[in-house]
């Protein structure tokens, strides 16, 4: 599996160029390509959950098919599950039925399920990496757009629809057209108080919620390299929020250290072989991308969104744009978004009162996120006017948090540490933000009604969310970090 050099032909000359990380993985997974059509891409790992799989199982049954490679599929229940009293039957009937259907289907088709009560249960994009299921150089899919998260390991990972879930179940393959490739370079040093969440919110605010549609994005540069795996996952997770099929980061020592020793990670001689291969998974120096973007890390502030798509974000010290500064064609959407949010053009978001804080979701619910929040709030109490939900990404994260005493810190601060699930990120369970209320959320989408009908979402980093929990309003975490240092 040595990395070859791809041979590109353009309209007037033949030139040899280096190969991108994406192409190296893509090439090794191509079964065949249909003349003038899509390619047949082999899928190494398929993750499933209760919401987007039942119709796929039914499709298989209707066609009289079995699951082709059940051992390459892992299932969990996350979208619909309650985050309190998980040991009791799910109260909401339809949610309960969907979770039960997953259990029945997994048992009928021979698929491993980490359901409610299992020590490995959790948000599908949190458990894949933490169990070592996600490894460099793989192709991975799931019926969930945030499958892009796994790209942090140098894998081609992307979200698919239910018909495609059925295809992968039936044949372990998908028909895919090769996307265009974009590289986003973030170089320099991040300011204190600026997290990976701020990097990705900044990028999306620059290129818009559709700026990477049709592309697969590789993130590179010294600021990306300096991030932990958790930080890299947060960035890749939100690739879809700018329209990208997925995002990926070349694996390095940080990646290998993270994967090594995990439950399903390779071990012994197999580990050595894999490692040798994984080290080849880099973009060659002379590889060419369809589009390239350069960002200076020092330009990034803690970010906050003010609108109803993730591209509507600003540095926390900035004001919401004025109507005049928005392109004429975008004004109706801008005005509609602000009306929904109950905000006016040109005003500051900093200082706005908030009602709820949600720390969770596949974007920011890993142990590092919880440690950061706990470190910030230790010895403090939440503002009386605010309700704070912390929802760990998995049972493993929850267990770790308890072992480290993070649960006690949250309890003393008045935060509710709940049980794992997708929770208020999309409000499919009972964790909904009431109409008209403002929620500062570490999740990934601020769409209308996403966290509950007429709920108003402000996306931010775990630190910015933690600060809001303590003060009851949107603030600049840098002020706080500096004043804490000087006190």
């Amino acid at each position: 599996m040595a990395p070859g050099h791809a041979f590109f032909t353009n309209s007037d000359e033949s030139i040899t160029m280096g190969t991108t990380l994406f192409e190296k993985i893509w090439q090794t997974h191509l079964v065949t390509t249909i003349e003038g059509g899509p390619s047949v891409l082999y899928i190494d790992r398929h993750l499933i959950h209760e919401v987007t799989s039942p119709q796929a199982f039914k499709g298989l049954s209707d066609r009289g098919l079995k699951v082709f490679r059940p051992k390459q599929i892992v299932a969990t229940a996350d979208h619909n599950v309650p985050t309190v009293n998980q040991h009791l039957p799910i109260k909401e009937e339809l949610s309960r039925k969907q979770v039960e259907a997953l259990k029945d289907n997994c048992s009928a088709f021979g698929i491993e399920l980490y359901g409610l009560g299992h020590p490995f249960q959790g948000i599908v994009h949190v458990i894949g990496p933490e169990l070592g299921i996600t490894q460099p150089g793989m192709t991975m899919v799931c019926g969930d757009s945030h499958t892009s998260t796994h790209g942090a390991f140098g894998t081609i990972a992307f979200g698919i629809g239910t018909s495609e879930v059925e295809m992968v179940m039936a044949t372990q393959c998908l028909l895919q057209t090769r996307p265009k490739l974009m590289r986003i370079n973030v170089n320099g040093e991040l300011n204190k108080g600026v997290l990976s969440k701020d990097i990705i919110l900044y990028i999306i605010s620059l290129i818009s919620a559709s700026g990477a549609t049709g592309y697969f994005v590789e993130y590179a540069g010294s600021a990306i390299r300096s991030l932990s795996m958790e930080g890299r996952m947060t960035i890749c997770n939100m690739s879809i929020e700018m329209g990208a099929r997925g995002g990926l980061i070349a694996p390095d020592e940080t990646t290998f250290d993270y994967v090594k020793g995990r439950t399903f990670a390779p071990a012994g001689e197999v580990w050595n072989q894999k490692l040798a291969y994984w080290k080849t998974l880099v973009t060659d120096d002379d590889a060419v991308f369809d589009k390239e973007l350069h960002i200076q890390a020092e330009d990034i502030e803690p970010m906050i969104t003010y609108g109803t798509n993730p591209g509507m974000g600003i540095g926390v010290t900035r004001n919401i744009p004025t109507v005049e500064s928005i392109e004429a064609s975008d004004r109706p959407n801008f005005t509609k978004a602000l009306a929904y949010m109950g905000l006016e053009p040109g005003i500051a978001v900093k200082g706005r009162k908030i009602d709820y804080v949600f720390i969770g979701s596949c974007t920011n619910s890993r142990i590092e996120d919880l440690r950061l929040v706990a470190g910030f709030v230790a010895g403090k109490k939440k503002a009386d006017s605010v309700e704070v939900w912390v929802v760990p990404g998995s049972k493993q994260v929850e267990k770790q948090a308890i072992e480290e005493g993070i649960d006690k810190i949250f309890e003393q601060a008045g935060f509710q540490l709940r049980s794992p699930g997708c929770s208020a990120c999309l409000g499919m369970n009972e964790d909904k933000i009431p109409a008209g209320k403002y929620c500062i959320s570490t999740s990934n989408r601020n769409f209308e009604g996403r966290q509950g009908q007429n709920a108003r979402t402000l996306l931010a980093s775990p630190l910015t969310a933690a600060l809001a929990a303590i003060t009851g309003e949107v603030g600049d975490v840098r002020d706080y970090l500096i004043s804490e240092l000087t006190n």
Binding site: K58, N309, M428
Partner: protein
């Protein structure tokens, strides 16, 4: 899944003059609890359609509630179908009665989901999209014709037309009612051979 084919759709259209219509708007998450593909149409654009989630309180200014607009074609602003991968969005549009969605561009996952459900996503230039909006908003009965074989979309009244792109493989599937699983199953030997070859590396 019920198999269908698609070729010519000729109908008045519904103009949804909004950009970045995400799949949470097309079908809110609370309606994703079904285990079948049926019946999502009644909840299409649910929170834009009704006040307080109440079917007896339609929002008068929402396009689906305006009596003069009906038809098999939905026209929408750029970046239609962004956000969640939920195929329920395509099922809801199809179940409501749309066979074609026109926009100046579609989110990738939505586009695949639509094609897999014989809901044709037609990508037109921003200028032609504006013409379509204007034609339909001026005359709600104006007929729009989409011809898949010829890959063209035409405003009947003015006879203005534009060519649209579609992957030739997908076009064959739509015209003949094939789906990807049929094809993938037909090459299962090759998939197994591929697996064996990789195992040796």
């Amino acid at each position: 899944m019920s198999r269908k084919s698609i070729n010519i759709v000729s109908s008045p259209a519904v103009p949804l003059r909004m950009e970045n219509v995400d799949t949470d708007q097309i079908i809110p998450a609370r309606f994703l609890k079904a285990t079948t593909r049926d019946g999502f149409g009644k909840n299409l654009f649910r929170d834009w359609r009704y006040e307080q989630d109440d079917e007896s309180k339609p929002k008068a200014d929402f396009i689906l509630n305006k009596k003069q607009y009906a038809g098999d074609i939905l026209i929408a602003g750029k970046n239609f179908g962004c956000g969640s991968s939920r195929e329920h969005a395509a099922w809801a549009l199809k179940d409501y009665g749309f066979d074609v969605v026109v926009s100046s561009f579609f989110a990738d996952i939505f586009s695949n989901n639509a094609l897999n459900n014989f809901l044709l996503p037609v990508t037109v230039s921003p200028a032609f999209l504006e013409k379509l909006f204007n034609a339909v908003e001026t005359d709600p009965d104006c007929t729009i014709s989409v011809d898949l074989s010829n890959q063209s979309i035409t405003i009947a009244e003015s006879n203005e037309s534009e060519h649209f792109e579609l992957n030739p493989y997908k076009k064959e599937c739509l015209l003949n009612g094939y789906d990807d699983i049929d094809y993938l199953l037909s090459i299962k030997d090759r998939i197994e051979a591929f697996e064996n070859q990789r195992a040796k590396i």
